[in-house]
Subunit: 371 residues, 2 copies
Amino acid sequence: MPTPELAVIGGGQLARMMQQSAIGLGVRIRLLAEGPDVSAAQVVPDHVVGDHTDLDALRTAVGDAPVVTFDHEHVPPEHLRALEAEGHACRPGPHALLYAQDKAAMRERLGALGVPCPRNATISSRDDLEAFGYPAVVKTTRGGYDGKGVWVVRSAADADEAFAADRPLLAEELVDFRRELSALVARSPSGEVRSYPVVESRQVGGVCAEVIAPAPELDADLATAAKALAERIATELDVTGILAVELFETADGRLLVNELAMRPHNTGHWSIDGAETSQFENHLRGVLDLPLGCTHARASWSVMVNVLGGDVEDLVAQRAVVLAAEPDVKVHLYGKAVKAGRKVGHVTAYGSDLDDVLARARHAASLFTVG
Amino acid sequence: MPTPELAVIGGGQLARMMQQSAIGLGVRIRLLAEGPDVSAAQVVPDHVVGDHTDLDALRTAVGDAPVVTFDHEHVPPEHLRALEAEGHACRPGPHALLYAQDKAAMRERLGALGVPCPRNATISSRDDLEAFGYPAVVKTTRGGYDGKGVWVVRSAADADEAFAADRPLLAEELVDFRRELSALVARSPSGEVRSYPVVESRQVGGVCAEVIAPAPELDADLATAAKALAERIATELDVTGILAVELFETADGRLLVNELAMRPHNTGHWSIDGAETSQFENHLRGVLDLPLGCTHARASWSVMVNVLGGDVEDLVAQRAVVLAAEPDVKVHLYGKAVKAGRKVGHVTAYGSDLDDVLARARHAASLFTVG
């Protein structure tokens, strides 16, 4: 195989969708995949099967690729530093990824930058939690995602599961929020930064269910502030590629940072069909230090609805039903086996009438879920 | 490897771009590739290396895929009939492909359908050519493409090369045309047909150089007639997937059919970035008998300019220069080695001002050509 231009660690749907953009840009990707037939391995010929916590597997996959990027944030920082010492540019680098890997470090750093966050404290005992006060959101500082490793705690008993394992925890104020927003930016090592329209993210059970771009009726000043905040965080933390800043819009009209993700993000999937340049293309352009593409929306409204595993076992067979009902919805299947609640695909609709766009996207997603 | 849903014969850029759409739709492709690192083999893991004229290679590649489609029209019809007899659906089938493979058969059939074509006759001798008259366009009935196998003949001497090999020839009237148009349609085995906007195709030396969608200042009745003609040909010839009908718009305002292609076509590449559903997605939807997607343009104007091999040897390195100069142009590289005049990529620009869109696309393509 010729030398890949980019190594991608992790073979999930994010790497799969990067490949769609890589094909156009002529970027040869080599993948480290969790298995021979995981989502991205199905579409990237040059892949190595191995574990991202195994430095030798990482080295084999990276080979002589000059740049390394990621499908997820779970590669141990010491391995990233080893790859950097061996001459590979990790983008984002371990110094940035730390703040997506460790929520306590993220809160401390954002606090030092004066970025508005929910009130928070690291806790190591029930006494600490009592001192923090109820209600609280207790999170593992590392490894949580999609609602896993997060507990809403209204009394000491609610924290049993959180304290069951001996691991670092963070307590955060339970924010009285109006809705959740997401501000995505792309950034290159040269320092170019481009913001996507701020979107509304609707969660069910801690999992992103649907995204509306742009966030409906968002105050213009708040949208500007959210973009500025995300751009500042990307720059201060030296993020390269896509940074997603998940935000609470509080009941009293403030913005608080909830989470950071340093990779293409579920709240940016609408951009494949709905923006001038998709988040996947701009992630590649960012990490390869290419000039970034326009992040504007192509339609008045875009709606992305996740397809979460449900009754429908054969998504490929069901596609005919979905496209017959909603021929103008864009279908994105991830090549994953269906399990209850697992993200197995998404659909996007766009147009000038939000109610219509929302209805079409929801209908299509529902047909992939309820047989 | 799991059973592919679709076998694609031929590993050129058309198969490569099919894969971009296949990833979204969740279509698993198995490819018959001319070599281990041809354009599409770089992005389709499940590929077999072999020759499309070798039935055993075709059988190996097709395996147990229920449907077979094509990157080109050069598979021998008897092999397609063998695959059909063995239970695979060839789309388009040999009965349709014949008219893209054999220009004499195409002229005869279109003539019988009353479709307007240049005056034409099969010729087997110089006497036949004299009888046909000068000037004429002489073509090999089989195997010509991109200006190869085509001679403009103004006297007997101009036909020496055409007659040098002993092969069937077609003589056609040298049409006094204002410009070349292309009418693309997608069709499914169920009979659903969708027309793309009629585009203008500008050729240099018999090779498509740039495409403007829609064709500027095209008379509305002529556009309607061109679409109707393409839809009728697709239906009458039972084409499945994409049919491109290349047309002359004559100086006196008539339409004449020049060529047919039964696969995604260079004059439809603009649709990747410029249409609601790209020709590649609709080709897949068509051949898999899925409901077709909307073929409308997403912008007032889209311009596609081919990148033909020139001074620039390393297109991947040059990408940074192109994107710095034209960050909003969409780059499509084919992963091919640069040779003079070879199609190695294309760029697309779109927007509301045709002059601006044309200038940006041409500038980007020129930067990939002249170092």
